[in-house]
Subunit: 458 residues, 2 copies
């Protein structure tokens, strides 16, 4: 009888060897972690994180874990939740386009919480990240697209498996314990797309990190679960997806690494706006465009952009993420589209609003979602033109390491004193060589100092 998918995956997770991880995969893991950590720092002061800490901090166990980017300490399970919220709250974290998962947040959020409370070498940390990423991606690949189309936020569901695998790996679970951990992940896999547009969306990778972490702890202690959590007739795939292909859980395990298909966003907004924004940023840099000099903006975009991002009369930063006009305006006026361009203040900035309102968009079926053409009519009578053929950040034109550096810095300054940003960045690139990941975590909290959450709570 063929071994079940859950057990085969469990065997891989517990026994995969560092020496078998190709160099390019190790480097992509570092890129993913740099991108992740920047996002976690950038989102760490968002109201969603503040609110969750205010609500649940008083229930935290012994505060042995740092929350990335914050002075608070919580127990590792609650720290996992908060790291998951902060790293996803701006929708700026990574994406694997093949399955729409934001893969790093559930896995790395649990791992950083774990490594804050326990001594972990960089190599063990990165190895656990890689197997967690694989477990999550493969479970997701098996059920995508039916599962996502039905309304599941696949980052929340598949992410639970990833966190369980990663923490279970670090805890040294046996194959049987890992089977239970994956079963307990399966039976907690949750997250509805109905939450999109609310704090509930960022809650999903946070809860996935926390629940996967506790699945590993329970399994280690001998808390049993069904043996076929993924493939059983009442297991994850059958119950949560109208169609699925279980071969994707196991095929190519150990040779075909999903990390190679990870992508990183240059801008914290709906990905279909990206080529338009890029064109506008180029115009700003080439022609020093500003609000006073712009008479009208004409966008030619893929028709899907108008389905998803056709809002012009907006007042909040969250709405701005889904307005191609706002993306064009910040690109032309400020020459950048970072987190600061998607605040309520930025959306209500008079100059940006004027340019946004001067813009029109036309759907053009000859353009792909990675393409855009922009025309800007200036007050002095000139017309500027710019086209993007392949959007920055997609899998064919990935962000360079230097671009990831810039993205990291722009977010990290929101949480760390400026002089410490590069120290954290440099440690993160070298993570696999660290004797203890605590060194990086200490560098990723304000002033290297943290206090139990209770001390800050009234």
């Amino acid at each position: 009888m063929k071994m079940g998918e859950t057990r085969t995956l469990a065997e891989y997770v517990v026994s995969s060897d560092w020496d078998d991880v190709p160099a390019d995969v190790r480097h992509e893991a570092a890129r993913s972690l740099v991108n992740y950590l920047g996002c976690a720092l950038g989102g760490s002061a968002d109201p969603a994180v503040e609110t969750a800490i205010r609500a649940l901090g008083p229930y935290s166990g012994p505060p042995t874990s740092a929350v990335l980017g914050r002075i608070d300490r919580l127990d590792p399970l609650h720290a996992s939740l908060m790291n998951g919220i902060s790293s996803h709250v701006y929708d700026f974290d990574d994406t694997t386009p093949q399955n729409y998962i934001h893969p790093s947040s559930p896995v790395a959020s649990a791992l950083f919480a774990y490594a804050s409370a326990n001594a972990v070498t960089g190599r063990d940390f990165v190895q656990a990240f890689i197997v967690g990423f694989e477990a999550e991606s493969r479970v997701g690949n098996a059920v995508y697209p039916a599962h996502y189309d039905a309304g599941w936020h696949i980052t929340g569901t598949a992410g639970t498996f990833g966190a369980a695998a990663a923490i279970g790996r670090l805890r040294g679970l046996s194959v049987q314990q890992m089977v239970w951990a994956l079963g307990l992940a399966a039976t907690q896999a949750a997250g509805l797309r109905e939450m999109f547009g609310s704090m509930g969306k960022a809650f999903h990778p946070g809860r996935a990190a926390q629940n996967g972490y506790s699945a590993a702890l329970l399994a280690e202690a001998g808390f049993t679960a069904g043996e076929r959590g993924i493939e059983g007739p009442r297991g994850f795939a059958a119950v949560q997806s109208a169609a699925f292909d279980l071969s994707k859980v196991t095929e190519g395990l150990g040779t075909d690494f999903n990390l190679r298909r990870n992508t990183y966003k240059p801008f914290p907004c709906g990905i279909v706006n990206h080529p338009t924004i890029e064109a506008c940023i180029r115009l700003h840099h080439d022609h020093q465009t500003d609000a006073a000099g712009i008479r009208a903006v004409r966008l030619h975009v893929a028709p899907l952009v108008l389905d998803l991002c056709n809002q012009k009369n907006i007042t909040t930063g969250l709405q701005g993420k889904f307005s191609v006009y706002h993306g064009a305006a910040v690109g032309l006026v400020r020459g950048r589209a970072g987190i600061q361009e998607y605040t309520d203040d930025a959306v209500n900035d008079a100059a940006i609003r004027r340019v946004r309102e001067s813009a029109t968009a036309t759907g053009d079926p000859s353009l792909t979602e990675d393409q855009a053409r922009v025309e800007v009519e200036l007050a002095d009578g000139r017309t500027l033109r710019q086209a993007v053929e392949q959007s920055l950040g997609n899998i064919h034109r990935p962000l360079t390491d230097a671009q990831l550096d810039a993205k990291f810095r722009a977010q990290a300054v929101l949480a760390l004193p400026e002089p410490r940003v590069d120290a954290a960045l440099s440690l993160c690139w070298r993570i696999a060589a660290l004797a203890d990941v605590a060194e990086l975590i200490d560098a990723s909290v304000p002033a290297g100092r943290t206090v139990p959450s209770g001390v800050l709570q009234s």
Copy 2:
């Protein structure tokens, strides 16, 4: 535009009035709580509870809540989880046959944890229990049977709504906050039937209690969720059920109480075995049957019994729950079928095994699942016969209050010193009149004394 189901339910939960609860519903609430508390005490020393406390106790926050039946104290969220596991682990808790939910465990597990850490009057407690029971039942009714048939453990999914509603009610949430709490419940609703036969099954009502509780805390603090968690196009009903009827969420709210349809098991095993067991217990009491005097046992049962409970060659208590032969044997030999009859020891008891192995069963399509006929051939040549036409504990022949007393006592002695059992029982019947439910909780832990979990952990 018609108000959405989530908001309508939220309005009911926050505003329903004690004076509008009919007397019979109040009494059924007390019966449910007596049955619940007995089950929680009976299961409180089970290895599933011990294991979960060993795994997660070290992560507990300030230990302000008692775990029912135990000396341990944990934070209220972890106490909710443990109460949920203990009260369901023997499958002896209540059932609403219309939707297969075990309704009290998720709701009462959270409420007892809450009331252990916060002063709550008995009336507020019972009112919160009633609205939580309604929220859970109505969400379940809307998606049953498609949701259950697909493989969801509906106690875990619907239970999350019940716990959120109950705790949100006690916390005094506004309608908007309750909408978010129900949304955060929807997006955490989980639990797969693939876990049946493992500790994972009892984990479901525990996690439902814990997650519903935290949904209420988050919503209270302003953590937002989708506004249509139940009825939205990517909400609970559409995503987790192939067919559903949303009118069942709201129709008859405040007049049609699901509590009236609650049922209580007389025996901690598969419900289809119940008429056989009852017939055998009657034979024991009428004829003092014992193992030595029995030559053969012939059971005539509904055909479904043979589909579900046709195991004879068994070695564990858990298997015994799904063996109609074992049920017959303990009834005939011991004259009872309580928790002690479903231990590994009981299943391996030589006298019980001999009678079990002497038994045969015939499926008879003329019998309903509430009926059974038993023939016992004695060594002295006589043949005894007994039939049950309507199984004890079903909705047409409910356990009497006195039978609930006996069930409570038989379980409570496993956790409490015998002299204190009746004190706890009496307080539980009078729960709605208590000035502070803490009085009942103090009576429901060993010697009235508890200690932080960490003190007991190594």
